[in-house]
């Protein structure tokens, strides 16, 4: 087990290293950042001075190494727009994003579990079909459109909930629901097919023959085993959640990483963009690592695969 975790940890670090190179190259390949920092009237001399001051005259490898060694300690330079350390901005916004993601996950689980279980238990009935429609609908509706409609009606016309920003629990509901509903489909489908498979298995039949109550069969026997494929899906699920969050945060003016990135991009604030991309990639990598370890605990065969 320890060996498995160690190997996966090294793999995650390699993936992060690749991303840091890509981010570094993207930032350099897109034109001289000095054009963004210095005023239009700057002379050639000003450019040279600034270049030397920022260390941009050094070889690329050296620049990359110093970029990485500072990034590891959470130092991502200074935001060109906010004129504040980027690390500080990230530390300010990251908790908001994590809280929204956690809430959205809660929403999607709260929808996927009842829908998936009901669909499996009542396979082929109207309930099954309705559950599938609810979940596939969420996946097919563009989040920003749902957001606009919710803001217009629930927040605007009926004034039930706040339209945006962060202000207590009620402000989580609209963005959390918008984000959560989008990712229900994958979860629900996995639960449904997992449950169907288990409900059809020999040991569930045996349990039924032995006289175990149907409720116990569903909750104790079927659900626990149907959860295994759901765990493996968590990595992909989380990556989609993070990507979609950028759009949702922007529409709901949510002060999180996604909105920070959007603001950073519209003002060409490269230190901020680098930091956001690396932070999100690191979070996704950590989540994937945890998922794989969890999976190895649940299903020991994985540890010996390969």
């Amino acid at each position: 087990m320890l060996r498995f975790v160690a190997v996966r940890l090294v793999q995650s670090l390699v993936a992060l290293a690749i991303i840091s190179v890509v981010v570094f190259v993207l930032a350099r390949a897109t034109g001289d950042p000095l054009h963004l920092i210095l005023p239009m009237s700057a002379s050639k001399e000003d450019f040279d001075n600034a270049r030397r001051y920022l260390g941009l005259d050094r070889p690329y490898v050296e620049q990359y190494l110093s970029f990485v060694s500072r990034a590891v300690t959470g130092d991502f330079g200074t935001s060109l727009r906010a004129r504040r350390p980027v690390g500080e901005l990230i530390r300010e916004r990251l908790p908001n994003s994590l809280k929204l993601a956690a809430f959205a996950m809660g929403v999607s689980l709260a929808m996927a579990f009842p829908l998936g279980i009901m669909a499996a238990v009542r396979k082929g009935t109207g309930i099954d079909r309705a559950a599938q429609i609810v979940s596939v609908l969420g996946q097919s509706l563009p989040t920003f459109w749902v957001a606009i409609i919710l803001v217009e009606f629930v927040a605007g016309r009926w004034q039930w909930l706040p339209a945006g920003g962060i202000s207590g629990f009620s402000s989580y509901i609209l963005p959390g629901f918008t984000l959560g509903w989008f990712v229900v489909a994958g979860l629900m489908r996995l639960l449904r097919s997992g449950m169907l498979e288990v409900l059809d298995s020999e040991y569930v039949k045996l349990a039924r023959v032995k006289g175990v109550s149907e409720r116990r069969v569903i909750w104790m026997h079927a659900l626990r085993n149907a959860l295994i494929p759901v765990v493996t899906f968590a990595g992909i699920y989380f990556a989609i959640l993070v990507t979609t969050a950028i759009v949702v945060e922007t529409v709901f003016a949510w002060p999180g990483l996604g909105r920070l990135a959007y603001e950073g991009i519209s003002s060409r604030d490269f230190p901020v963009i680098q930091a956001v991309v690396l932070t999100t990639a690191a979070i996704v990598a950590v989540v994937n690592l945890c998922v794989d370890c969890l999976y190895a605990i649940i299903d020991p065969r994985i540890r010996y695969a390969r």
Binding site: A15, V136, F144, I148, G194, T244, I265
Partner: protein
């Protein structure tokens, strides 16, 4: 050796669970919707619709025909600049469908090539390719597209490239997994004994066996790509105006939801119908041809 008693009942009790082919009920709604949108997108110039770019300040915010003040000249109403919404939605379908199909084709071709190579060669090749795949998968699609839009300018090509550059990783992952299983089977060993080279084994033996999976994944991903493209256009990083794209049309109508709800409602409906159709078709393909692919 005791003979099997002939009187034993055949295991028919399980028949229902084992066989019971669900029959070939074609999913009519998805196929019909996709066909209609495809045909409309292709023949858009010949439909006799008003020019989607033509502005007319005198007919701004005309409501759809069934509302008071609506006319058949603008069946779905007009937007802030008096442009015909129906025509813009029809022309927008070209953008969305082209972006969806092109992106997915690019991503699946590249991803399948990587997956086949990694699975076939294994060892170091596999390790290197899979680390790159991992890295790609943890890169948020929308962020990359936003970066590209800012640095290289928003354009159709940049949107397609930005999404494809990330999306291939899913194909690589799934196809590699399948190839690893296929490599254990006898026919690959037999092909090798018969003297087939790597190229031949990959293209003639491995690839055909992964086509089903590819088809399912491609169908399911088109819907996702259309949503991502619309999101980018909505954020102003996709197809630049005045080209009609569904995402940017919704963005333009955003400030007038109260007074002119139709401006952002109809493009949203268009996205919903197309994406729903692709998702349902993908689900159906998977359930019918490859029920094992639950995770796609």
């Amino acid at each position: 050796m005791p003979a099997e008693p002939a009187a034993l009942p055949l295991p028919e009790i399980d028949g229902a669970a084992v066989a019971a082919p669900r029959g070939w009920r074609l999913p009519l709604f998805p196929i019909g919707a996709i066909a209609i949108f495809l045909i409309v997108a292709i023949v858009a110039p010949f439909l006799g619709l008003p020019d989607p770019h033509e502005q007319s300040l005198r007919s701004r915010f005309k409501p759809p025909v069934w509302e008071e003040g609506g006319t058949w000249a603008h069946a779905l109403g007009t937007d802030r600049l008096g442009r015909d919404l129906l025509s813009r939605i029809v022309w927008g379908s070209r953008i969305s469908l082209a972006a969806g199909v092109l992106t997915v084709l690019l991503a699946s071709a590249f991803g399948a090539a990587v997956g086949l190579t990694a699975g076939y060669y294994g060892g170091r090749v596999d390790a290197v390719l899979m680390r790159i795949t991992d890295a790609t998968m943890s890169f948020p699609v929308i962020l990359l597209a936003l970066i590209l839009a800012v640095t290289a300018g928003p354009s159709f090509t940049n949107v397609v490239v930005a999404i494809a550059v990330i999306l291939w990783a899913r194909y690589a992952r799934v196809i590699r997994g399948q190839v690893l299983t296929l490599m254990q089977l006898d026919f690959v060993a037999q092909a090798r004994i018969a003297g087939a080279g790597a190229w031949r084994i990959i293209t003639r033996h491995l690839l055909p066996n992964t086509l089903g999976t590819l088809l399912v994944l491609v169908t399911l991903q088109i819907g996702y790509v259309i949503i991502v493209e619309a999101s980018l256009s909505f954020l102003g990083a996709g197809i630049p105006p005045p080209t009609p794209a569904w995402g940017s049309m919704i963005a333009e109508g955003r400030d007038f939801v109260t007074s002119a709800w139709w401006v952002s409602l109809f493009p949203g409906m268009a996205i919903l119908i197309v994406v729903l159709a692709f998702n349902l078709l993908g689900d159906w393909l998977r359930d019918t041809f490859d029920p094992k692919l639950r995770q796609l």
